[in-house]
Amino acid sequence: MKNLKMSIAAMLLLTLSFTNAQEKEKMNHDHSTMKMDHSKMMSMNNDAKAEAILNDYFNLKDALVADDTKKAAQEGSKLAASLKAFDASKYTAEEQKELADIIEDATEHAEHIAKSEMSHQREHFKTLSKDISDLIAITGTKSTLYEQFCPMYDGGSSWLSTSDQVRNPYYGSKMLKCGKVKKTIN
């Protein structure tokens, strides 16, 4: 008798979990098709080399936030390398001209960051940030970015972040949370 009860209970549980799993799968499926459509939409504007540049830029920003000169220098030279590897050939002639200009300027700043001390790195990071936002205005990006702004550094300075939480790369630990989100990109 006890055995029968147990097996009925087990059967019930099994059926329940089975239906539940089926439903979940269906939901997952819906979700994944949605996601696919989404990424397909974005891929028209997706430039892997621009994403690589952005990625290095964010690593550099994080090193500045952490007051880590050595790391920032390393990230600076990585960024200079990915800037040089950028391929503008799929853009219009006018965009190519603008992109070449941006890349040349940004590369110089990245190279300086690679060989300077912290205060210099931050000076160059300011102009670099402007270059990078002009770059993604043309190339687009698949991630959501936040343009953040610190009114105190050098008469007001912006930077880009993947998070809406403010972590100030111009002051680091001295004024970590100084600033605000000025604009959301994507």
Partner: protein, 150 residues
């Protein structure tokens, strides 16, 4: 005593020897149309300040001091001039895009503000090239205005 003599002779020979190593001279009679002074309206006092304090290393024409002909000083100068021109060449100013110009002007302001330029090793000998506090402020303000006008 003998050893000191030998060392002195060796050093002398080496010193004379390196005098024969040629160095590249940064000199030119032509001021290109792209020169900073030709494309911007620069007030006279700022013009002469830029000439004396910056142009030796940041243009195609250096006013060489006499000791430049003596090695190893000549090498040291050659290096500085090469590096200086790579960073910024006032003679080629107008070949830069607006973005690059702004970027360079911003760097000029920062370098002067932080007393990094002109280099100490330069002002040590060229006393007239150093900036007084008032000259610094005047130049920075003028460069700021130029930057904002681009």
């Amino acid at each position: 005593m003998k050893i000191v003599k030998i060392i002195a002779v060796v050093l002398l020979v080496a010193f004379v020897g390196i005098q024969f190593v040629p160095t590249e001279r940064n000199q030119s009679d032509v001021v290109p149309k792209t020169d900073f002074m030709l494309v911007n309206s620069v007030p006279d006092h700022i013009k002469s300040k830029l000439q004396t304090s910056c142009y030796d290393c940041h243009s195609n024409n250096t006013q060489y001091p006499w000791y430049n002909k003596v090695q190893p000083i000549a090498w040291f100068l050659e290096d500085h001039i090469k590096e200086g021109k790579a960073e910024l060449n006032f003679n080629e100013w107008d070949s830069l895009s607006n973005r690059r110009k702004k970027s360079k002007l911003r760097s000029i302001i920062k370098q002067i503000e932080n007393d990094e330029m002109p280099l100490d090793s330069y002002t040590l000998i060229h006393r007239e090239a150093s900036f007084s506090e008032a000259e610094k402020q005047e130049l920075i303000q003028w460069v700021e205005r130029l930057k904002d006008s681009i």
